[in-house]
């Protein structure tokens, strides 16, 4: 990306904003915690459980400030950004606790401000303001587009769509693509059709059986108010290398719209939200990838490294805070750890560590702390040992969501089952070992897969004496300790 004048102005504005933020934080320290993850990773549940745990109290033995009792109180407070929807904490909590269903997924950015009153170990009373920013991980995958031209993106998207299980899903779009000529005259109807087929292909990739992650542009799947606008009506073309788009051609129109997408969608998100984050947690649903197969796992790895690339990581120094905000801690969390027996949590972490390894070493060299954790923000299962003949299977007890199926049976959402999801290998490398490393739903029928992680309903909770019950969790406290523990010292 060549730095144009407008970009330089934008950067200057970004620095000015950071400077103002810094001035505010001198008197009232604020952390902007970004919570993201690809869809169905569990962002909403994570935030709901985190806020609930801090406000109502929970079991957080590893979260030192909370466990040692230094956190006196936490309460919600009006958020600073008036143009961003508020995170509907109360509604999500009701869905979890009363209706026993998982809250609806994030489709847009939302924000919640939590004010934590705490005492420093030396006894001084302080307040920490935690701004939790929740945004879809798909938007993150758009950020690399800022540095890519249309031609570059089109080539990458096309080559990706011609690989593995994606090729089948993209066949309809590929067929239509073959009829288009990049240098032919601009044709609105053909463009609309191409964009529709391209979006269908992206949506198909996200299906549970394939669970692909790397699907930019993210806003195609969550258009919101922009649905149908030209900025969302483009698709990759088979563009020739070494040439530029002729005026009035289909190619030129696509380029213009792609640039519009970047200007209208990607850059505002980067400027207003992403560049202002201090801490980031990336939630990853690795289990869905295990369900689907090796291709999904590779895709997830690529998506994660794409995500890591766009973090402005680095240690927060006074200078850097003044002129350029940086994220100095990133936590990668494999969510839904309650779908695994605790003896396998280490292996899940190992898999995730392996997936972010390359990108993490790069980020670590710039001074940012990166950690990986297997967690469950709300724990839906209990553990059990199933003895079948001589086999002892470390299993989980829980109520599968209505419509989940296993072993040819479809559950109604009220039956309790014990499920053994399959053994994760000791060596995480084994899972990344080529396309036949293990079998998932994308290549085999449901009876022949190596892993089967059922989706469980939220747990049945007994209300505490003062109303809302505390939510059981796995390692949410460790995540909190990593993300904000140092700022509560």
């Amino acid at each position: 990306m060549t730095p144009s004048l407008s970009k330089i102005v934008e950067e200057a504005r970004l620095s000015a904003r950071a400077l103002i933020d810094y001035g505010e934080s001198l008197f009232n320290p604020t952390i902007r915690l970004g919570v993201t993850g690809l869809s169905r990773a569990g962002k909403t549940v994570f935030i709901t459980a985190l806020v609930h745990g801090l406000i109502r109290g929970g079991r957080f033995p590893v979260f030192e400030a909370f466990d040692s009792g230094r956190i006196a109180r936490a309460h919600l407070s009006p958020q600073p950004d008036d143009g961003v929807p508020r995170f509907a904490y109360e509604r999500h909590l009701r869905a979890l606790v009363e209706e026993r269903r998982w809250p609806n997924s994030t489709v847009d950015i939302s924000e919640l401000r939590l004010v934590i009153g705490y005492q420093r170990p030396n006894g001084a009373d302080r307040t920490l303001t935690l701004d939790i920013v929740d945004y879809p991980g798909e938007w993150l995958l758009d950020l690399p587009l800022l540095g890519k031209s249309y031609e570059q993106w089109a080539r990458e998207s096309l080559s990706l769509s011609r690989e593995g299980p994606r090729a089948d899903l993209a066949s309809a779009w590929h067929a239509q693509l073959a009829t288009l000529s990049a240098e032919g005259p601009a044709d609105e109807q053909a463009t609309l059709e191409a964009a529709r087929l391209f979006t269908d292909y992206l949506r198909a990739c996200r299906d549970e059986r394939f669970a692909m992650s790397l699907l930019p542009p993210g806003r195609f799947l969550m258009p919101g108010s922009l649905a149908g606008s030209p900025a969302l009506t483009f698709a990759p073309l088979d563009v020739p290398t070494e040439r530029t788009a002729p005026d009035g051609s289909l190619w030129a129109m696509m380029v213009r719209r792609y640039e519009a997408y970047k200007d209208i969608v990607v850059w505002p998100f980067f400027r207003d939200h992403f560049a202002r984050l201090d801490r980031q947690i990336v939630l990853v649903d690795a289990l869905a990838a295990f369900n689907a197969g090796p291709a999904a796992l590779h895709d997830l790895e690529a998506a994660l490294s794409g995500i890591l690339d766009c973090f402005r990581v680095g240690r927060s120094t006074i200078l850097s805070t003044l002129f350029r905000p940086r994220i100095d801690r990133i936590l990668f969390a494999a969510t839904k750890a309650d779908h695994l027996h605790h003896t396998s949590h280490d292996r899940l972490e190992a898999v995730l560590r392996r997936a972010v390894n390359q990108a993490a070493t790069r980020a670590e060299s710039t001074g940012a702390a990166i950690d990986v954790v297997a967690l469950a923000a709300v724990r839906a299962t209990r553990e059990a040992l199933v003895a079948r003949g001589r086999d002892k299977l470390p299993s989980l007890l829980g109520t599968p969501a209505a419509g989940e199926s296993a072993g040819g049976e479809i559950f109604d959402g009220n039956t309790e089952v014990a499920t053994f999801p399959g053994d994760l290998p000791l060596d995480a490398e084994a899972l990344f070992n080529g396309v036949d490393a293990f079998h998932g739903l994308s290549s085999k029928s449901a009876e022949q897969t190596d892993f089967r992680f059922l989706r469980f309903r939220p747990p049945l909770l007994e209300a505490a004496a003062d109303g809302a019950p505390s939510l059981p969790h796995i390692r949410l406290d460790r995540a909190l300790q990593f993300l904000i523990g140092d700022r509560l010292q």
């Binding site: 040692s68 209990r382 553990e383 199933v386 007890l397 049976e409 190596d450 089967r452």
Partner: protein, 350 residues
Amino acid sequence: MSEPAKESAKPYAKHRRPATFRLDGPGVVVVDTEEAGRPARGTIQITPQAEPAQLPAVVETILPARRGFRWGALLWTSVAGLVLLGLGLSVTHLIEDLFARSEGLGFLGAGFAAAAALALIAIIAREAYGLVRLATIEKLHRRAAEVLLSDDRKESRAVVADLLKIAHQNPRLARARVSLSSHTDEIIDGADMIKLAERELMSPLDIEARRLVSVAAQRVSVVTAVSPRAAIDVLFVLAAALRLIRQLARLYGGRPGALGMISLARQVVAHLAITGGMAASDSLVQQVLGHGIAAKLSQRLGEGVLNGLLTARLGLAAIDVTRPLPFTALPRPVLADLAKDLLRKREDEE
């Protein structure tokens, strides 16, 4: 991650297929942990597992209160009374004889007798005070443990007030006392108040207690390693243990006399018996076996380490017994910490 399941540690080659069982399905039996055995042929046995993190909060083992009439106490009291009467009688006789011989000797004898009686009364008063004080601390411990469960705000204030009274004699706690009393009027829940008091008042004492225990353990291990006779070891270990218990009791505000020491030592041993069994199975054995290399190098060295660890364990039990508050907000010192101190010292010496 307490115990890696053996079966899940199989190599990837023996991958087991996922499986799901309905709890109400045919041939599925749900059993408790205790009954788990080999399942009958063709059935599937499901044993729910409790995870440590999900268990209800561990309630401090409260030493069983003595019940019923204490015959032993009656026996000892009456025997002591008789001995005292006998002594008194013989002293009276002695003084009468002295007066019969010469008036001066008689007055001298009477003076000695009076001084002895005064000293005896003072000693008895001190012992009684020590015993009452120990009882107060023990009761405070129990009351604090109850408040932690009941979260009773009023009772927590009373406990903290009593605690402040006990801590009053310790100058090192002056600052902590002030900061704690400033909190007593605030709106703090009962259990949190106790935790607050623990953090304020106990943390400096805990550090000192840990130091005392590790010093005693080190001394015992060194003496055991170099002493020529087993009998000397035994005497020394006994003396060191008693000394340690007394030091800890004093540190936490108790003033045990001889009788107090006897009662304390009994409590410590009882506590050791309650907690020792569980702990011995994990940490101690692990420590001893893990450092079995030391024993291989030299038998006496191994015995020294072992004796030191036993002393440390005794010290930890003594901390539990003498501390006026249960461990909740602050971490309970564990053997592993002390063992580390011990072995580090040992390595330094060699």
